[in-house]
């Protein structure tokens, strides 16, 4: 029996055991209480709500609502119970419940907003998100968290929050490239309602496809993620969107020098069908360039729509669609070579999600069918010389079985990634390629409570990728909770067969072509994480997490003297290691956090790779060693004041020894008439020098005014880069020309909500 077959047999056996256990007579005598928790005002799913059943003798059974607002309490003996649902910011929901043997009760709960103060720390543990609340690499972010980060718009954006996280490296305030704990942008899996979004970050770094107005929550796994997520080796950004208001029509419009946006949501059928639509359009060419006094030759826009249907009390269906567009050039306007290469990309994603809690089983099932597409092009003006397309149909079935002391997650997935690209360049061989493959697999990931506050979540994924055959990815996550002390750890094996190629040597070159890995086994990573979190005082939380990522079979651009896109790849290995230290403080009148991240990433050319220059171990250009993020937010007299300071140590770059000329002597070349090419002679060991450090202070002040007829007007003023730090974005090594990030920018924004 082969290894995958053996692993499959073991895990199917475990699954069978769980199902049998659920079906045993003793288990059948007990009842199940489950349902969906939503907000009373809007009908939105509410994650993290603690739902408990208390019998007259003091016995308690309970569960916490998941990201869908779903809770399930299994193994409830017959009797009369007090049902209690509590969550921070909401009035406690109380009800009396009579449970008979074998009951399968569906109790949906609508939580009314309440005035429970933050200082009532009894509910503090309910909080799912927070800057220091990290569990084995996972940090959850809610819309309210995002809005604390100063941003150019009244409405925030998920990327603003990401940029405050230690271990998350942005190359600058433009480019749309995010590196997480040493991983490359194309090694991050980004999901929106289960749909792949391949290049979600806009060309101007303050924006992504995820404006606050659509975000219900985002789970960000900086590493160590479970087996439900496959196909990427670095990290996961799993965004769940709001369903839209099921009770009343609501809309907003906002404008700032950078963007204008609009939101419309409301019920099509009250309490049953809601729609949500958000659109955003950049005003960079029209407004911001003049306003900032700096060229911002970018355009981006995005539109998101969602319809959510409550089919029955135990079934929900949603259809989501996203389209984004970015274009522009990152090359300096004063470029010596007068290059006018433009980059453009479009994301399109459409998905259907069906959620069901079957009447007779302790199960929650989810079916996702989605289609994702990325179209990219690069080249001079309107004549792209390179194009790359990627599209995938994704079908996933995710199931969760609930037992008294465990929760078993399992599922199947089937994907059909199809890529095509046409690449050429000044010295590039003509290359047109297309690939179509299929990827199918199964995963099993039970979470078992072993007592003493210890939860273990071993997982195994078995999958087949077209070129690779069967592979196994074992992973484990665990947490140990002892009062105010929380330990967590994760480890696992990760593989990626669909890889993104881009020229990391040049920060202005962000064109990415997706191709299948040229090797059967794909890129592989091994993660290990260990974290500790403590709440020494009410409202104060401190966490420390160390990480290690080992990456094999990476593909990087061959080291050539021409800073141009190259499909000539070198195979490399790498490792990233570091730690994050976070401190978060919450008081009724203040919220703030400070974090420090240390990360060291090293690449090494694989000895088997046909490298002509072996630099040994070297720092890749995204290896930012030190990061500090500080955020403080307070309210006074109705004003909200948000301050954010960030610091990043310099990124590595390669120095230049000199310039000469190159003539390709591949035959009887007549050197009298051949022009030759100007050539830069780089230092033999790349990335040995370090660019200046980066730091910036952003401040916003906002206030919401209530106008008649239920209209709220929010005004914002503020500054980006308050002390006008000259932060470098890109350095052209050919000409020593530097492109800097945004200077001091005063901000004015207005948002009207009805």
């Amino acid at each position: 029996m082969s290894l995958p077959s053996r692993g499959l047999a073991v895990w199917l056996g475990a699954l069978t055991w769980i199902v049998v256990l659920n079906a045993s007579p003793a288990w059948a005598q007990s009842a199940i209480v489950r349902g969906f928790v939503t907000t009373e005002a809007e009908g939105e799913a509410l994650q993290g709500v603690n739902v408990t059943l208390e019998d007259p003798t003091g016995g308690r059974y309970g569960a916490a609502a998941d990201g869908n607002g779903f809770y399930l309490i299994p193994g409830v003996p017959p009797g009369r119970y007090l049902l209690r649902a509590s969550f921070i910011g909401f009035a406690t929901h109380l009800d009396t419940l009579d449970v008979a043997a074998g009951d399968r009760l569906l109790i949906n709960i609508a939580m009314e907003a309440g005035s429970i103060a933050l200082e009532e720390i009894a509910v503090e543990a309910d909080r799912e998100s927070g800057a220091a609340r990290v569990t084995a690499g996972l940090q959850s972010v809610r819309a309210a968290d995002i809005e604390l980060v100063p941003a150019p718009d009244v409405s925030g954006d998920l990327v603003s929050y990401l940029s405050t996280m230690p271990g998350v490296v942005l190359m600058g305030d433009r480019g749309g490239q995010i590196f997480i704990r040493g991983g490359e942008p194309t090694q991050n899996l980004t999901l929106l309602d289960g749909m792949d979004v391949y290049q979600p970050f806009h060309i101007l770094g303050f924006y992504s496809a995820f404006p606050t107005e659509i975000v219900q929550r985002a789970d960000i796994y900086a590493g160590g993620f479970g087996t439900r997520f496959t196909g990427r080796v670095s990290s996961v950004i799993d965004v769940q969107t709001r369903n839209g208001n099921k009770r009343a029509l609501s809309a907003s419009v906002s404008v700032s020098p950078f963007t204008s946006s609009g939101r419309l949501e409301g019920p099509l059928l009250k309490d049953r069908i809601s729609v949500l639509g958000v659109a955003r359009y950049s005003l960079l060419d029209q407004f911001a360039s003049e306003y900032v006094k700096a060229p911002l030759p970018y355009t981006f826009n995005d539109v998101f729509g969602k319809m959510h249907v409550v089919l029955a009390r135990n079934q929900q269906l949603s259809v989501s669609a996203l389209h984004t567009y970015d274009s522009g050039t990152l090359i300096s306007e004063e470029d010596f070579f007068e290059r006018n290469d433009q980059i453009a990309w479009r994301n399109t994603a459409v998905g259907l999600r069906y959620l069901v809690a079957p009447q007779s089983l302790s199960v929650l099932g989810e079916l996702i069918v989605s289609y994702s597409q990325l179209k990219s092009e690069f080249g001079p003006g309107a004549v792209p010389s390179r194009t790359a397309d990627l599209e995938t149909v994704n079908i996933a079935l995710n199931m969760t079985n609930y037992t008294r002391h465990s929760e078993v997650n399992w599922g199947f997935f089937f994907r059909t990634p199809t890529s095509s690209s046409e690449l050429d360049g000044f010295y590039q061989n003509l290359q047109t390629r297309g690939e179509a493959s299929s990827n199918a697999g199964f995963y099993l990931e039970p979470e078992v409570y072993l007592g003493q506050g210890l939860f273990v979540r071993p997982g195994l994924s078995l999958q087949a990728y077209g070129i690779a055959g069967g592979v196994i990815e074992p992973r484990v996550r665990l947490r140990w909770e002892r009062g105010v002390h929380h330990w967590s750890a994760a480890a696992g094996v990760y593989r990626q067969y669909l890889i993104g190629l881009s020229d990391r040597r040049d920060a202005t070159s962000i064109f990415t072509a997706w191709v299948e890995t040229p090797f059967d086994q794909g890129t592989r990573a091994v993660h290990a994480l260990l974290g500790y979190r403590v709440e020494p005082l009410p409202g104060l939380e401190i966490s420390l997490e160390g990480f290690y990522k080992k990456m094999d079979r990476l593909f990087i651009s061959a080291w050539t003297t021409f800073p141009s896109f190259s499909t000539r790849l070198q195979q490399a290995n790498g490792r990233a290691a570091g730690f994050d230290l976070r401190l978060e403080a919450r008081r009724p009148w203040f919220y703030g956090f400070i974090n420090y991240g240390y990360s060291s990433t090293l690449y090494e050319i694989d000895p088997a790779s046909p490298a002509q220059v072996d630099p040994g171990k070297f720092r890749p250009p995204h290896d930012r060693r030190h990061q500090i993020n500080l955020l403080a937010s307070t309210t006074f007299y109705g004003f909200g004041l948000n301050v954010r300071w960030q610091f990043g140590s310099g990124l590595p770059y390669t120095r230049v020894e000199g310039f000469d000329g190159f003539i390709l002597m591949d035959g009887a070349v007549d050197v009298r008439s051949v022009r030759g090419l100007p050539r830069v002679i780089y230092e033999r060991i790349p990335y040995r020098a370090v660019l200046p450090s980066y730091h910036r202070l952003d401040v916003t002040l906002d206030r919401t005014f209530s106008a008649p007829a239920g209209v709220d007007v929010t005004a914002q003023v503020g500054v980006l880069n308050a002390y006008d730090r000259t932060n470098l974005f890109a350095l052209d090594l050919l000409t020593a020309q530097r492109t800097d990030q945004l200077p001091f920018v005063p901000l004015v924004g207005l948002k009207v909500e009805f």
């Binding site: 120095r655 002597m665 050197v671 030759g676």
Partner: protein, 347 residues
Amino acid sequence: MRWGKQARPVLGLVVLLGVLAAASGCEESVDPIIGTELPFTLWGFMNTGADTQFVRVFPIRDQLIPEQGGGIDARVFSTDLTTGDQREWTYEAVQFDSLIEGHLFWAPFRAEHEHRYRLEVVRSDDATSRVTVTVPAVVDFQIEVTQGSTIIPVRIIGDVPHLVGLRVTYHAVNIPPQLAWPPGTSIAGAVQYPVTILYENVVEKVDDGWVTEIDMVRDFIAVREVYRLNCLITDDRGSAPDVWLRQMEFSALAADSSWAPPGGSFEPNIISVPGTFSNVENGYGFFGAGQGIRYEWSPDQTVSLLAGYNFEPRCQGLFPRPEPECMEPPVPCINESIRDLWRIWLR
């Protein structure tokens, strides 16, 4: 009191802002040029078929843009190590554009087979780049162009360490349609556009030299693709009827033993890295030696037709023809980057 409590965090933030503003705001400069002591980069070869030898010399500078008309601080000397004959080469400036100023040195002599030469480029401070090459033995070649066959055997006979620059150039021309519909549709004139096919990967070393076979049918696929990319044909179906072959040219260089790129391939992205394909001491670049081989011929009409070419213009007659080239005659879009793509690799 209420004011004080609410103002406290604000005051704290103001102090924080002040500290941060005082601590920073300056610009840090970056100097990415570290310089090198290597003086020159050389390109060229000792050509046994020429009565004058040439070498291009690039000074290694610390700035990309050269000073215009500045000349070069260099003198070039050659020594025939077999005979002891020494000579200084003559300088000649060739201005290509603002980025490339050609520093050409030449000397009027014929490189002798199996002689060993040393070339030295000396700066006024005596910094010197030098290279030593051995000219290979004399070679002969045979190209068997026969009627009725699209396969043309080639044999290079002699002690040739390396055969480089092996290529076949197809001097083709597109044949625009005679008519196009609707009436009045403009038709661009014929364009002669040579396409070069590299044969480095299909040559084989044998006991007495090297052999290869020119495959006109296979090469026609590449010719057609280049014509399609340059919008010289409309139809890219199996037999493009709008391309005709006028002439063919075979060329190669029987090169010395140092003319061996890493990995056996003249991949520009690899060998452009300074030092990866270089035989120059105390400098960069490559200076080799070799005997040029070149043969031109006009292929037989029958063979051209067999290979896939066709000279009969279509779209004739009084009535519209449904073929693409009749409804949308080609409008040339010669792409300079494709023009530079003289290396088409068949894969």
